[in-house]
Amino acid sequence: MATKASHIPRQKGETLHDGFLRHAGFKWAKIAGGLSLVVIVTYLLIDVTPRHNGGSWYGYTLGTIGLGLIVWLTMLGVRKRKMTDGRWSLKAWTSAHVYLGLSLIVIGTMHTGFQLGWNVHTLAWALMMLVILSGMYGIWMYATLPQALSNNREEMTQGQMLDGLRAIDRQLHDAAQPLTAQQASLVRLSLEEDPFGGGLWARLTGRYRNCATHAAQAGMRQWTGSQPDTGNDPLERVDALLEKKQALLAQLRRHLRLRALLEIWLYIHVPATFALLAALTAHIISVFFYW
């Protein structure tokens, strides 16, 4: 992919290391910012009687623009599966997605005229805000986490991390052979622990309260703690291996946590988008059903 891309001449004004946020000199940021400003100014200047709401001509106009934007923004999901470049490159598209999406805060909220309540109309607004906020969180994470992710990996790939764990497990398994059944069962706890287990909360916080390896080592120390390290006690070897495994697990878990933080927003952004499309449908139909 990279070699292929290098043959395509750069577009005018495009620099190599522009991310989607800085794309084309913040072109879409300016467009979206201008759009928001126009909406705010017209909202304040246009005298809608008795008060601003979605049912005035101005409200309908904003609603139509908002709906069009939401549908178009959703299309990024389709568009991103087809990479092209140029003016409508995926990067340009993503840049527009981000900034126009942000301008929806203004357009959508002005459309409501700040008339919010416990109804399907406000549900649509709230879902829209949820989608936008999760997107903002996502961008923030994309901007800050990759550096931390890279630092934590210490030049290791995910596969290498897993292989390292497997190697330690094999050594643990071998080293534990001379152990008594009670001691062996402790080691087995660690061996049988799923390094990817722990659930969503553990992933996001990086806290694994019921870590079996930790428990195994704690158990092991009951025997090794009171004895001098003679250098050929299999228990000491197992203890050392468990410690190594803990260190590796900690690194893996930091990695998993960073990845979880990087990914979690999409689990809100995408389903909330579809809920929003459904709520929008209900909003529009209900408005005209009881016109």
Partner: protein, 606 residues
């Protein structure tokens, strides 16, 4: 009989290596310790786990030696007899031992590790394991679930309930209040469609949407409103209303034409002005803009209109046109005349306000004399004669008996301490009473005749006195005519206040008094509430203290009202929309918004 033990192991690239050994022992041991015949490197296996014993004829017995058992064909057990010719599968921890018949009467035990050393060593889908996908419900199912839930709850349920609702019409608010509940006899789930609470007046209809939204995809019609509001009349003939609106701006015009395309009733429909779902509490006052859409330049479109154009009270409003009495009398003539033309109002009375309100002079002095009895102050005040109506909106007509007679007495004779008075408002009775008085009373009786009158000095003959007295007695009734003429003429009791026509003028047989008509409401097209203005002095609007004539029209003009009142969006003390004084569905009562939303700044700052 022997055991053949085959150990199968797998190389890193997946190749299987089989190592075979034969044992001639009749009993072999299985365990994690290396001294066992079958040595299983498996932490789930005890150091000495089990023993296998030959029973002959290819039959073997497997017996656990510790507390941990093993599985035979998937079933856990501690002790089992196996016919090797039939075969069996044993499971010790992560190892599988397959029992099968060997050469002769030998038994083959095939040992293979079937479980990975650890969980991590198992095959993992790396992409999935490292991503959140392994701990979460997928984005796609989550998206579908949420979308379907929203569509069901907020669309499918209300629409289904709407389609299944009973057909009977329950739109009258009184019927609606008797309704049983959502789902039973009105639509269920559509409350989530309400864009805001209904106003106080329509609160009973909350959640009973179909009371007003009669048909799906058909906007609210006047018929829905008129189910309850039966007596509301139109503002003007609908053809004229349709012609009336001026330029509403491109946005509203486009919206109106789109609405029209879909059959939404436009100008003149109830819902055009009366907007609902704008929050609990009183219904929103109809904004000025709804009036000025038409009235700011009505004369351009309805060229025959008599109504002046108005777009804002503070900026563009025609001068007031009170209804004044042009000709007083039995058949008075009224006319609406602009205050700009300085009209007069002739009620038929003569009354100088300035004399009565003067702080000095006879009136003030008389007021002071009567102050104990009537509560007057140092001088007369407006309220001494003008009494408000019970609602405080206007004033009662000034009443002679109540408001004037304490000074302007009509008494003419004292009988045993009681003052007889002329009957006010009945000139014929006044004449009759005066005649009767002269008929029934005599002149003062001279002392010679037993009277109290002093005798004249000199030689005036008794006979002459007699003659003079009885002559006077005889002539007494004729004196009535002079008294009557005096009452009705200049200087008389009636003449001071009333316009009198003497007999012989204008076919008049007798004295007659011009009927008086006191106007109680000058502004018939607008509303003025005196009570709302009771923080003001009367004189700040009515210049009565300087008025010399009763015909002076003491109404404040537009400019005077603008001291406090301005348009709806003005910065005046009292921003006033049209609806403060005018009513769209005009009747005798106050505009319905009259008291709502009007601050009374002077009172508040007190």
């Amino acid at each position: 009989m022997s055991f053949e033990i085959r150990q199968i192991s797998t190389t890193a690239d997946g190749r299987e290596i089989v190592r075979s050994a034969t044992s001639e022992k009749t009993q072999i041991s299985i365990g994690r310790s290396s001294e066992n015949d079958i040595h299983l490197q498996d932490l789930a296996v005890d150091p000495k786990h089990a023993e296998i014993e030959q029973l002959g004829n290819r039959r073997i017995r497997v017996r656990a030696t510790g507390t941990l058992g093993f599985d035979i064909d998937g079933k856990p057990t501690l002790d089992a007899e196996i016919d090797a010719s039939k075969g069996a599968e044993l499971r010790f921890g992560g190892h599988r031992i397959t029992v099968s018949p060997g050469d002769g009467d030998g038994v083959v035990l095939t040992v293979q590790r079937v479980e990975a050393v650890s969980d991590a060593s198992e095959e993992k889908d790396e992409v999935r394991s490292f991503s959140l996908a392994s701990t979460m419900l997928g984005k796609r199912p989550l998206a579908w679930a949420l979308a379907v839930f929203v569509l069901l709850a907020f669309l499918a349920v209300p629409i289904t309930s709407y389609l299944l609702r009973p057909a009977e019409d329950t739109r009258n608010i009184y019927e609606v209040m008797k309704q049983k509940g959502p789902g039973e006899d009105h639509v269920f789930g559509d409350a989530s469609w309400s864009s805001g609470p209904l106003s106080k007046a329509h609160h009973a209809l909350e959640g009973k949407c179909e009371s007003c939204h009669e048909k799906a995809f058909v906007s609210v019609r006047d018929t829905a409103c008129k189910t309850c509001h039966e007596k509301v009349h139109d503002h003007a003939p609908i053809e004229r209303i349709r012609k009336a609106p001026g330029d509403m701006g491109i946005g509203r015009q486009v919206l109106a034409s789109i609405g029209e395309m879909f059959g939404r009733p436009g100008v003149g429909a109830c819902a055009t002005c009366h907007i609902e779902h704008e929050g609990a509490g009183p219904m929103l006052a109809t904004p000025q803009a709804f009036c000025t859409d038409c009235h700011s330049s009505l004369s351009e479109r309805l060229t025959d209109t008599k109504i002046g154009d108005a777009s804002d009270f503070g900026e563009a409003h025609p001068e007031f046109r009170p209804t004044v009495q042009v000709t007083p009398g039995k058949h008075p003539r009224f006319d609406r005349v602009s205050l700009a033309k300085k009209p007069t109002d002739d009620s038929g009375l003569k009354f100088p306000h300035d004399v009565h309100l003067s702080k000095t002079g006879g009136v003030a002095q008389m007021g002071r004399r009567l102050s104990e009895e009537y509560g007057f102050g140092d001088a007369l005040a407006c309220s001494d004669c003008h009494k408000p109506t019970s609602d405080g909106v206007r004033f009662q007509p000034v009443d002679m008996k109540r408001d004037c007679q304490m000074c302007h007495s009509l008494g003419f004779e004292m009988v045993d301490g009681t003052t007889r008075t002329l009957r006010h408002g009945q000139p014929d009775q006044v004449i009759a009473d005066l005649r009767a008085y002269y008929r029934s009373t005599g002149p003062a009786v001279p002392i010679q005749l037993g009277g109290m009158s002093r005798r004249r000095p000199g030689n005036y003959a008794d006979g002459k006195v007699h003659h003079a007295y009885f002559g006077a007695v005889a002539a007494r009734p004729n004196g009535a005519d002079a008294a009557i003429a005096a009452v009705f003429s200049e200087g008389g009791a009636c003449y001071d206040c009333h316009t009198i026509t003497p007999p012989g003028v204008a076919d008049n047989a007798s004295w007659s008094v011009l009927p008086v008509h006191q106007t109680s409401r000058f502004f018939t097209k607008g509303w003025f509430d005196h009570k709302a203005h009771d923080t003001e002095d009367c004189e700040s609007c009515h210049s009565a203290p300087t008025s010399k004539l009763a015909t002076d029209l003491l109404l404040p003009d537009l400019k005077s009202c603008r001291d406090c009142h301005g348009g709806e969006n003005s910065n005046t003390d009292v921003p006033s929309g049209c609806a403060l004084c005018h009513s769209y569905h005009m009747g005798d009562e106050a505009p319905w918004v009259s008291n709502a939303g009007v601050a009374r700044p002077r009172e508040e700052t007190k």
